[in-house]
């Protein structure tokens, strides 16, 4: 920001565009994705050299064949991505999206099976129940963090396990929901399923529409409301925010409740969705494994730099390569290859921005020893310093 003062160049300076934070996070996201794909390709080469190229082509282009499915599977991870990203804005690391997702899914299932409601409202109530379930499971880490100063990372991990065990037990003990011979939940009534959008060859449903609308609402909350401002301020510097009279504790709890609700909605959207078999719905298998969609949400949120609109794009992208990943089994690979790519993307997005800055500085040192370089650099350094300072502050808070 200080850089703007001491040079009077025209407004559309290339440098000014490239030093914009939005551009930087976009560049970082691209860098992380690129490196993730490269590592994925290397692993494919190690696993099966002959098929690696064919497999990698599926990863890159396979999703094109099933764009409807891409959106279908993007819905739950969009919601968990929002759950992680929203908390991240406040410097909270919501690793508990899995548990919140599972809880939301169970609440939605419970309403879908056990309540008797008139047709057109039933699925809406089921979705709202999922929202509530997620909120409850997000409320707990929030309370622990705000009142007892327990690190939210540990709390949410523990409640991932607790939620998963509880839900699996409740489902297995409920004959209406659970089909013990299939070891899965039963299909829910087609009247309770979320209506499909009617795109040929896929079951993409209103879930994705709601997801996008919610992302936009979150964007408005973050950018245009006092609560959103307080939230971001607390994320940047907790002590300064408290000093300015913001209620840190209340905001922590509220943030975690909203974040949990997002993940819970993700669970509801996933389980209430119509599946590929006509008239049937998605099912859940209670085998004591933590829902992976919650963890994928972390990748989605980081790729979208915790920005709600960016999250829509990154969820679609992750879902796109996941669809491609399932096709790699045609040439002998397994869909887990995408989980590897996603993990590598998270790894690199943790420091991609720093890496990009370093690379840019290296290139600058190589190429630019002419013009008025020193002046611009003088102007630029403080901005970077402030930014890295801010980043570190959020890291301190996240810890």
């Amino acid at each position: 920001m200080q850089g703007n003062n001491n040079n009077d160049k025209p407004k559309y300076n290339f440098k000014r565009i490239t030093s914009h934070p939005g551009f930087k996070s976009l560049g970082a996201a691209f860098m992380a994705v690129f490196l993730g794909l490269v590592v994925g390709f290397i692993i494919m080469l190690i696993a099966s050299p002959g098929n690696a190229v064919a497999g990698f082509r599926f990863v890159l282009l396979g999703g094109m064949r099933r764009l409807g499915d891409v959106l279908y599977f993007a819905t739950p991870i969009l919601m968990t991505g929002l759950a992680v990203g929203f908390a991240f804005k406040m410097g909270l690391f919501n690793i508990g999206a899995s548990g919140q997702y599972t809880m939301g899914m169970f609440f939605a299932l419970y309403v879908a099976f056990m309540w008797d409601l008139p047709g057109s409202t039933h699925w809406i109530v089921a979705i709202l129940a999922g929202f509530l379930g997620g909120m409850i499971w997000g409320f707990i880490p929030g309370i622990f963090k705000a009142l007892l100063n327990v690190n939210e990372v540990i709390t949410s991990i523990m409640f991932n396990y607790i939620g998963m065990y509880l839900v699996d037990m409740w489902i297995q003990n409920n004959g209406v929901m659970y089909n013990s011979s299939m070891t899965r939940t039963r299909y829910i009534d087609s009247g309770v399923q979320i209506p499909a959008l009617g795109i040929a060859g896929s079951n993409v449903n209103f879930g994705i529409v709601f997801g996008i609308l919610i992302a936009i609402i979150l964007y408005i909350v973050l950018e245009k409301t006092t609560f959103g401002y307080e939230l971001k301020a607390t994320g940047h510097n907790k002590h300064a925010a408290e000093y300015a009279g913001m209620q840190g504790k209340r905001n922590i709890i509220l943030t975690m409740v909203i974040a949990g609700g997002m993940a819970g909605l993700g669970g509801a959207f996933a389980i209430l969705a119509p599946s590929a078999i006509a008239g049937s719905s998605m099912t859940y298998e209670p085998i004591n494994i933590i829902a992976t969609n919650g963890f994928t949400g972390i990748a989605v949120a980081l790729l979208g730099s915790a920005h709600p609109i960016g999250t829509i794009l990154s969820a679609t992208f992750i879902s796109y390569i996941q669809r491609g990943g399932t096709l790699t089994s045609l040439v002998g690979f397994k869909p887990e290859i995408i989980d590897i790519v996603v993990a590598v993307i998270i790894y690199f997005s943790a420091f991609a921005m720093i890496m990009n800055t370093a690379i840019a500085r290296f290139i600058k040192a190589r190429l630019g020893k002419d013009e008025n370089e020193p002046l611009l650099e003088l102007g630029e350094e403080p901005v970077e310093e402030v930014e890295s300072q801010m980043e570190q502050d959020t890291e301190k808070e996240a810890e």
């Binding site: 007892l148 540990i154 396990y161 509880l166 690979f333 887990e336 290859i337 943790a350 720093i354 890291e395």
Partner: protein
């Protein structure tokens, strides 16, 4: 009395992995790096340890020799995997929690991919038995002999030896003092000529070795030498973090905390053998939740006046104050 013996005999092989991994977490955090990747490092060590066992089982090597070599293999692989965390968090100054999460997610996916492609299963299944019925001489000691030296694993003894080494290393050596300085006030440490980056690398690497060994010991003592990419190490890496916090970053306290959690877990899995608990007719799931719930209660009680290393989680930057 038999029930008590049974519980303690079963508690120790469960508690030792927790103890080792929590000690690893302690070394890492004492140097100033949060190591949330313990879960992944455990699984990585367990996988390579089990891979080694799979390749040598059936040869003339005795089970205890295999266990010792497997331990070294697991430790080295844990060390290598932890370098990914060191690089990102020390050199690149990345957010340590995010990097740790990425490393936790990466390894189950790799294990599942390779196991499904090459072994047609979710992991590695070995048929090596490391169980020791009784250790000569020592098992004859009344009470103690039956508790600690019968129906056990070699891992238990190794675990306590490592605990002793850890105590000496942390409190009685120059290295330990410097390590602790880097976690409390890295700039002060730097000003007297300690290389903070090197010490942090050492701390994370130690945690990598210990977590790798801990993972292998988990596979030996808890899952009968098998490793699955699906269930992994069942959250033991995270429990170890809680154990470390409960133990207030001090080795001996960590040992007691680890045994406390191990006892709860053993209790949860042997409800059907204890008539009193079995008669209560409570669903077994509640007992399985018990260790996680106990973690929360313990953390709620101890976090208010936590004695965490002051500089943990903050990347060290020479140019800052």
């Amino acid at each position: 009395m038999d029930v008590v013996y049974y519980l303690i005999q079963n508690m120790l092989p469960v508690g030792v992995p927790l103890l080792l991994v929590a000690l690893g977490g302690m070394f890492s955090e004492r140097s100033g790096v949060i190591n949330i990747a313990l879960e992944g490092i455990m699984l990585f060590g367990a996988f390579f340890g089990a891979l080694f066992v799979l390749n040598v089982q059936g040869t003339s090597m005795g089970p205890q020799t295999i266990l010792l070599i497997g331990m070294v293999v697991a430790g080295v692989s844990g060390l290598i995997y932890s370098l990914l965390l060191s690089f990102a968090s020390i050199n690149m100054k990345a957010n340590q929690v995010i990097v740790g999460t990425a490393l936790n997610m990466l390894i189950p996916a790799i294990i599942l991919l390779f196991s499904k492609m090459f072994f047609n299963s979710d992991g590695i299944t070995t048929n090596m038995r490391f169980y020791i019925r009784e250790i000569p001489v020592l098992s004859r000691i009344p009470v103690i002999g039956q508790m600690f030296f019968q129906r056990t694993y070699l891992t238990v003894i190794i675990g306590f030896i490592i605990l002793a080494i850890a105590v000496v290393l942390l409190y009685k050596t120059r290295f330990g003092l410097r390590l602790r300085a880097c976690g409390e006030h890295p700039h002060a440490a730097d000003s007297v000529g300690i290389n903070v980056y090197k010490m942090r690398y050492a701390g994370v690497s130690l945690s990598g070795i210990l977590a790798g060994i801990g993972g292998f010991f988990y596979a030996v003592g808890v899952t009968d030498g098998n490793v699955s990419g699906h269930t992994g190490v069942a959250g033991f890496g995270f429990l170890a973090l809680a154990v470390m916090i409960f133990g207030q970053w001090k080795p001996i306290r960590i040992m007691f905390a680890a045994m406390f959690f191990a006892f709860l877990r053993t209790l949860a899995y042997s409800v059907s053998l204890i008539p009193f608990l079995f008669d209560l007719g409570i669903n077994q799931t509640y007992y399985r939740i018990l260790p996680y719930l106990a973690t929360m209660v313990v953390l709620a009680l101890t976090s208010k006046n936590s004695r965490a290393p002051k500089a943990e989680g903050i990347p060290y930057d020479k140019s800052q104050r």
